[in-house]
Amino acid sequence: MKIHEYQAKAILKSFGAPVPDGQVATSARDVRKIAERIGFPAVVKAQVHVGGRGKAGGVKLANKLAELEAAADSILGMLIKGTKVHKILIETAANIDHEYYIGIVIDRARKNPVMMVSAAGGVDIEEVAAKTPEKILKIYIKRHLGILSFQVRQATYFLDLPRGTAKSFSLITQALYGAFMAKDCSLAEINPLVLTKDGEMMCCDAKMNFDDNALWRHPDIEAMRDEEEEEPLETAARKKRVSYVKLNGNIGCIVNGAGLAMTTMDMVKHFGGEPANFLDIGGGAKAEQVTEALRIVTSDPNVKTVLFNIFGGIVRCDLVAKGILEALATLDLTLPIVIRLSGTNEEEARAMLKDTALLAMPTMSEAAKEAVEVSQR
């Protein structure tokens, strides 16, 4: 799960990291009050989950109230990569001397968190990693030890931080790591971590993503969810506990199992089509999940054909067929549906579906091919 910058900053602040004085606003009317409190220069920042807001004009500096109001007015409602801006963060603009990067993720191969620091902050860190990896220092943390003093010193020397900032930098690393661990983050980063002309360290932008599997432990984080930032069909699917990701194609895929679901999408592409989604109804494929899955997939107006790919292992194919028939009876669908049921009792299942308009195919490849052909008719 993702949250906004202002929410990530609030979390970092609660862990002792310095963040600029600021406040979130949803209307240009709120601007004056905030400006009176924080003063000038101030910065207005669009609060959206997508990246690249700076280039899109979603961040503006203001030196007086009229500028601030104009900036707020232009950013609110603006579209950034298709996402409408509903919220802005107004905060004290830092007097920047240098911008650093500091971030923590899970190193899957090393089975521990890893902290990355770079003196090339303020820009896209993925680009830095790709083009100039020597500008990033990786600090391998052991979960049972936490960040150690010598590791912080290594980072300080690598970044060539000026004298007098070491203590503040150490506090920030501890705050970031503390938040990462306490809140079950999958990513926590400060970019830029600013060294001001006054020699102070300030977290001027922050990003946090959370482990979906751990949200049950953090109702405070779940409460930060902004559904306006999410794909509506994905939100609907999540609430029904169906794993769904919207894509841009026109063949809606309904599959049991994540690996098989990805492979089904790949087969659609292999045969010249474009998948409309990833959807995993789980290993069981019960009737109510089939109904929900069909409802979600066919709510996407791009979908021209539905492709079912069910591998009945322990679950019997005739039971899945029954679920599909029940689902079709409750939904009024006119789209062509291609179905592949394989496994236990597949003959019975095919017999049950024989008198329907469903196009039953014996293998995944044939079903994917058929779905592509049908969608192009």
Binding site: R217, A258, M262, D266, S342
Partner: protein
């Protein structure tokens, strides 16, 4: 032979009285696996599926000499269940549970590692040595005894491919689902090493997917250390970046972990990668013929 599970396996089912434990426990027993007992805290002394239920793993191990455990405990309690089994000296733990927080799994991973425990999963279908023992949730009947080792991050995709192999007359020595989470107890390389030293395994099918770099690490390992042929398949060529594709570990992050990179790495190591699951049977026959 085979790897990890066989007729010597004395299996404990943790979470045996829950719905998953009951359903899959019955199937495991039907398959002929030697299930010696179950564990559910507070349900000690009961009988279910023809075995005794214990409230603690300690008591279960004392009374049954169990040497393996399969965990069907819900996500909120799974960390504790696996740690309990590790603490009681069980050396093979198969964790089926999906949804365990990643940071909890880091703790569990190192606890298993430091105690020389083989942990399979979590979020996996388990392990089967056809004709000998089944420890997991995979449909037993699609498997046949044979000499192909299968290792995969997926569930139903593995069944699909196993069925292909069986239909093509290629039985399996052992099939292992290592799990779809970012942090898993046993990775491709661990299993490849086991297959390499198993005299019954002649060739290996490796089924990977987007996310992480385990396939790349496996490619390197195969090139350096494997004498047995490996055929690969990678799912997720059409997966968009930044989106979790069902499995918690199936995510392209920071531009890394794409299917394309993995296929390139495997092919660079001389491994044939199938474009479609239904090509795998033929590819395995080809590499076996070339070897002979």
């Amino acid at each position: 032979m085979s790897i990890l599970v066989d007729k010597q396996t004395r299996l404990l089912i943790q979470g045996i009285t829950g719905s998953e434990g009951q359903f899959h426990g019955a199937q495991i027993i039907d398959y002929g696996t030697n299930v010696v007992g179950g564990v559910t805290p507070g349900k000690g002394g009961q009988q279910t599926l023809g075995v005794e239920v214990f409230s603690t793993v300690r008591e279960a191990v004392e009374k049954t000499q169990a040497n393996a455990s399969v965990v069907y405990v819900p996500a909120g309690f799974a960390k504790d269940a696996v740690l309990e089994a590790i603490d009681e000296g069980i050396k093979l733990i198969v964790c089926i549970t999906e949804g365990i927080p990643t940071l909890q799994m880091i703790t569990v991973y190192w606890e298993a590692k430091n105690n020389d425990v083989v942990l399979i999963g979590p979020n996996c279908p388990g392990v089967i040595s056809p004709g000998k023992a089944k420890v997991g949730i995979m449909p037993g009947h699609i498997h046949r005894e044979g000499r192909i080792g299968v290792v995969s991050r997926s569930g139903t995709l593995t069944y699909e491919i196993v069925k292909e192999l069986t239909t093509a007359g290629l039985g399996q020595s052992t099939c292992i689902g290592i799990g779809g989470d970012p942090i898993i107890g046993t990775t491709f390389v661990d299993v490849l090493a086991m297959f390499e030293s198993d005299p019954e395994t002649e060739a290996v099918v490796l089924i990977g997917e987007i996310g992480g770099t385990d396939e790349e690490i496996a490619a390197d390992y195969i090139k350096q250390h494997m004498t047995k042929p490996v055929v690969g398949f990678i799912a997720g060529l059409t997966a968009p970046p930044g989106k979790r594709m069902g499995h918690a570990g199936a995510i392209i992050s920071g531009g890394k972990g794409t299917a394309r990179e993995k296929i390139v790495a495997l092919e660079a190591a001389g491994i044939q990668v199938a474009k479609r699951p239904d090509e795998i049977g033929e590819l395995v026959k080809e590499v076996l013929a070339r070897k002979a």
